[in-house]
Symmetry: C2
Subunit: 265 residues, 2 copies
């Protein structure tokens, strides 16, 4: 059997009691940490906490050639992932592949950044549209390239009055901050010759799930100067706020009080 086990948000103690037991009982323990990773625990810390060795899989071993999957025919293979499994299409794809070759699967759920962000900000879960990732700019033929996709997704969601969750890029141990993300969004708007983000409220969240999670809402141009501390960061650009959402952002994220007056019922 292939058992997908969610490790939750931040460190080794965010797994459920049920998940922890299943890890201890498994014959083989695999993990992938490229779609999502726990900032509060590295492989060594997890192995010590479980009292077990973990085989960390590369993208290729998960998506292209999962030879290890064969072991799940006769053994209980635990497959560990950050957050709640299956929110990522990668996990769904792997599960379907296992089903197709007759391997039984099971999911042990855990906290996901998707509902946690909703909980930490007070923004209602059903009002979130498609999420997107802000990538680091790169240089091609001596020119700085900023992909415009995140800005296009954001605009589409705004037109439909939906909130947008913006994941921030990770590259070689370099974690994009809310500050960099805010600046890049403003730059994308500028490239498009538009100023719709200049008076836009946005929310920065750092270390969701940890004891010192930081949540701050402000106008996007001001958010880029706030110190959120260590990673992981994530951003939300909300749609037109409902009254309760505006109240929550003021109380929980220090948003400017005037957003309550602009909110809708």
């Amino acid at each position: 059997m292939l058992i997908f086990i969610g490790l939750g948000l931040y460190d080794e103690r965010d797994v459920s009691v049920k998940g922890l037991q299943a890890i201890k009982d498994a014959d083989v323990i695999c993990a992938e940490f490229y779609t999502s990773r726990l900032m509060g625990a590295d492989q060594a810390k997890l192995e010590e906490f479980y009292g077990r060795k973990i085989r960390v899989l590369h993208r290729e071993e998960v998506e292209v050639d999962p030879a290890w999957l064969e072991e799940a025919r006769s053994k209980d293979v635990a497959f560990l992932v950050g957050g709640d499994p299956m929110v990522s299409t990668t996990h769904l794809d792997l599960r379907l592949r296992a089903c197709e070759i007759g391997i039984q699967t099971r999911v042990i759920h855990s906290a996901s950044i998707v509902t946690a962000v909703s909980g930490l900000t007070g923004l209602q879960n059903y009002r979130f549209g498609r999420s997107t990732t802000i990538p680091f700019p790169y240089t091609a033929r001596g020119k700085r390239i900023i992909p415009e996709t995140p800005y296009l997704v954001l605009k589409q969601n705004m037109e439909r009055n939906l909130h947008t969750m913006l994941f921030l890029d990770i590259q070689n141990q370099r974690y994009m901050t809310v500050n960099e993300g805010s600046e890049l969004l403003l730059e994308m708007a500028q490239c498009a010759g538009e100023d719709i983000l200049d008076r836009q409220i946005a929310v920065g969240i750092a270390r969701a799930g940890s004891i010192d999670a930081c949540v701050r809402a402000d106008l996007l141009p001001r958010l880029k100067d706030w110190n959120f501390g260590s990673p992981l960061h994530i951003m939300v650009v909300p749609a037109k706020l409902h009254f309760m959402e505006a109240r929550a952002l003021v109380a929980l994220a220090g948003a400017p009080a005037e957003i309550v007056a602009d909110a809708v019922d």
Copy 2:
């Protein structure tokens, strides 16, 4: 401090290791089980597992007159809820009330039915619109009344090409089944003189988070005859399916294979 602790989906072992520790360390343990409850554990089982007494609060004590909140000024009060805290507005409201009177708050996250449903069915989280509840019909002046709200919410979501999560009513220990829910939806459509649900795929889910979770997708008129077993049940009426979602419903929920051909890329 007021510490919101999510207990997850099904039984006493779905809380996170971190959450369990916080419960054991708290000075006072309160809980509310009216917005959501664990089907696999009652109060006695939870108390035995924690080795602590729980004070279960009524709706009035949470929403109208939370006098117990005063204790959180000087003590650590754990507030236990099913699922992930804050997905329900009730919890957000309580948190804002605590903030207003200067009480520090903290959230320990857990698995939520919102992402679990997404994981169990393969339906993408960002495509869910507003969710709704199908209530039991009641009798007024000798006439059977079926509220039409769930049908209206469903239609609105369908027009916007969004999935709809339908919670099923609980009344005095009576749990609505997927079968009853399906029948009621069809009856609502009939009352409206519409037949849009006759060829509509729907998904029934029973006991999410338990080892014997059951997920079944079929045409709504057929779903009402499937045996899902013991509660809690929940339903999803999906929008137009993406290819990957259709494949998942066939593999994970036994949906008719022809839905894959109708799916969009």
